[in-house]
Symmetry: C2
Subunit: 336 residues, 2 copies
DNA sequence: ACTCTTTATGAAAACGATTACGTTGGCGCC
DNA sequence: GGCGCCAACGTAATCGTTTTCATAAAGAGT
């Protein structure tokens, strides 16, 4: 009742194990009729090659690992979906290890992946240069996702926060808004600082007269609400608010509503992320959308290339996935 | 530069490979000092046992597979989180394969898992008895999640939709509502029909005089909106609406608002799922929450037990994870 | 007809670990 | 002092596959 091995197939088809292997893999060096006989025997016995045995000799696991931090909600889903789809297209399996809050847990997980995978997709807030140097199995193809490491030693992929923020600011400027205030994310958060950078760049390059104004926030709805109250107190009052993420934009909108300010007529609002809720709030939120599945898929592509030709120098390659503007009511754009 | 093998460690510590294996595994049959020397040599060489080689001889992969359909949003995230956490606690790795829309893809994925995993977590809409009989590797521990298969041949785990729906109906009845209408989910959907069953049961057992009334829906917000319009046309008008999921409840609420009906003063509304948005809509939605991570975690527990003692007869065991009522404003409960 | 090449096939050596089984040496006990 | 026993350690078989090499047969070229 135990699973059939290649020997069983060989006996059944009255050939040697070598011929079975040849027939089932490249198919060369075996007569058509022998091959046929072998295939029949294999299906009859429901033969499936033993993955571990094959790995041992070929040095390939046909599996890639994804090491992720503790992620919530649809970001995680979409990321995995993108990775899984791209991996399946290459005939690779996906070993995931998520919810690594501290560096030690991540290091342990990394070590455990050793020898189980052909390549690694790594997204970790703890992944500084020393950590990688210490824990990353040397010679294992790796793609870094959304890390703060711009270093030339690894292949990396990240979201174009910068460009996305510029799109939003350009959009607000095009609508005639001039005094645009930015609600910051948590200090030290990479996405947040990149978005802030995009805001600054777009403003200074397209509208040098506009004041650069920041309010503190931490990505939470509450912090957005408090920022909204500060907006009300500013003189002259801003035309528009650009929050570093949607939840703060939603919080800010609530503060404005509570004060009797109309959005977008009196103040326009923009967010970032396009969370599912964004289209349901009133008014629907103009925001910047990032195709997360594409982030995962492209990372997988990059990794696939590294695996297929290990000699190619892909270290230092750094790609970005683009962000799109999603125009809804909150920015005050004329409905076409 | 290649990874160190057990032979390298043996040479380094001047012992045989057998002693290395003993020292690093159970540790018995080796002197404390020899063991010490071996450990040092191992860390010096950064030795990590080759997973495939170990699997080949021990017949254990220390990996479990999760075969999932195409899931969206936080359901997937939470499920994986629950599974991953429980698996890690047992020292198991997690191989995921998701987005299987059709039965053929699922079957192929199932075959590919063969020999790569010690057990299987399976959630598939295509998993009828014949499919399982055909494709499930015989003798592989398996836990079915949320399948319509109540059969005694497998170990299964599912959400207590029935009980959750009863909680909601009892809540609405306790608030004095008597004419409660139910918005159905897609026909054939197991969750939807179980929720409907719970609604019927609770109503007939706690308030036999209340009419059982259904409106068609398909889990989409639009279908909820249409159902809301039908609610408005009903005479006598219902006290309350219980939608089979949150999105329909939200759609229904929009229809009532558009007609100038106040929620919850004129009509109370309840949903199911507790999507993140539920707390942000106005008024915040009373709903039924299922701890999805727990579903994943418990499934993993069940699977773990099967793996640890393969002789135990766990087939036919069928557990349910409970649902909780989340009371918010939309049902009209007095704010305490 | 003889060699030379090509092709189908089988035998056997890897891959890196675990583990059953021998061997050795030290110790206690009579 | 001889016997047996036990702990520590080594030797070698084993898991299921791929792949190199050898071998034999067959076909081609002269």
């Amino acid at each position: 009742m135990a699973a059939a091995t290649i020997k069983d197939v060989a006996r059944e088809a009255k050939v040697s194990v070598a011929s079975v292997s040849r027939a089932l893999n490249d198919g060369r060096g075996v007569t058509a009729e022998t091959s046929q006989r072998i295939r029949e025997a294999a299906t009859r016995l429901r033969y499936v090659p033993h993955a571990a045995a094959r790995t041992l000799i070929t040095r390939r696991t046909n599996t890639i690992g994804a090491l992720l931090p503790d992620l919530y909600g649809e970001f995680f889903s979409e990321l995995i979906r993108g990775i899984d789809l791209a991996a399946r297209a290459r005939g690779l399996h996906l070993l995931v290890s998520s919810s690594h809050d501290d560096a030690d847990a991540a290091a342990a997980a990394l070590r455990a992946m050793q020898g189980r995978v052909d390549g690694l997709l790594l997204m970790s807030p703890h992944a500084d240069a020393a950590f990688l140097q210490q824990n990353l199995p040397h010679g294992l193809p790796t793609v870094l996702m959304n890390t703060r490491l711009a270093g030339a030693d690894y292949c990396a992929l990240s979201v174009d926060n910068d460009g996305g923020a510029r799109l939003m600011v350009e959009h607000l400027l095009a609508l005639g808004h001039r005094r645009i205030v930015f609600i910051q994310g948590p200090p030290g958060n990479r996405d947040a600082t990149e978005r802030e950078l995009g805001y600054r760049e777009a403003l200074t390059s397209h509208s040098p007269d506009s004041p650069v104004a920041m309010l503190r926030g931490d990505f939470s709805e509450d912090s957005g609400y408090r920022a909204g109250q500060q907006v009300l107190a500013m003189r002259p009052r801003p035309d528009a608010v650009f929050a570093a993420n949607d939840m703060m934009a939603i919080g800010c909108m609530a503060a404005l509503r509570d004060a009797g300010i109309c959005v977008p007529e009196e103040i326009a609002i923009g967010g970032f992320d396009d969370v599912p809720m964004a289209r349901y709030v009133t008014p629907p939120l103009t925001t910047v959308q990032v195709h997360i599945a594409e982030l995962g898929g492209q990372a997988m592509e990059l990794l696939g290339e590294q695996i297929d030709n290990p000699d190619s120098v892909m270290a230092g390659i750094h790609r970005r996935v683009t962000a799109q503007l999603v125009v809804r009511v909150s920015s005050g754009a004329p409905l076409v």
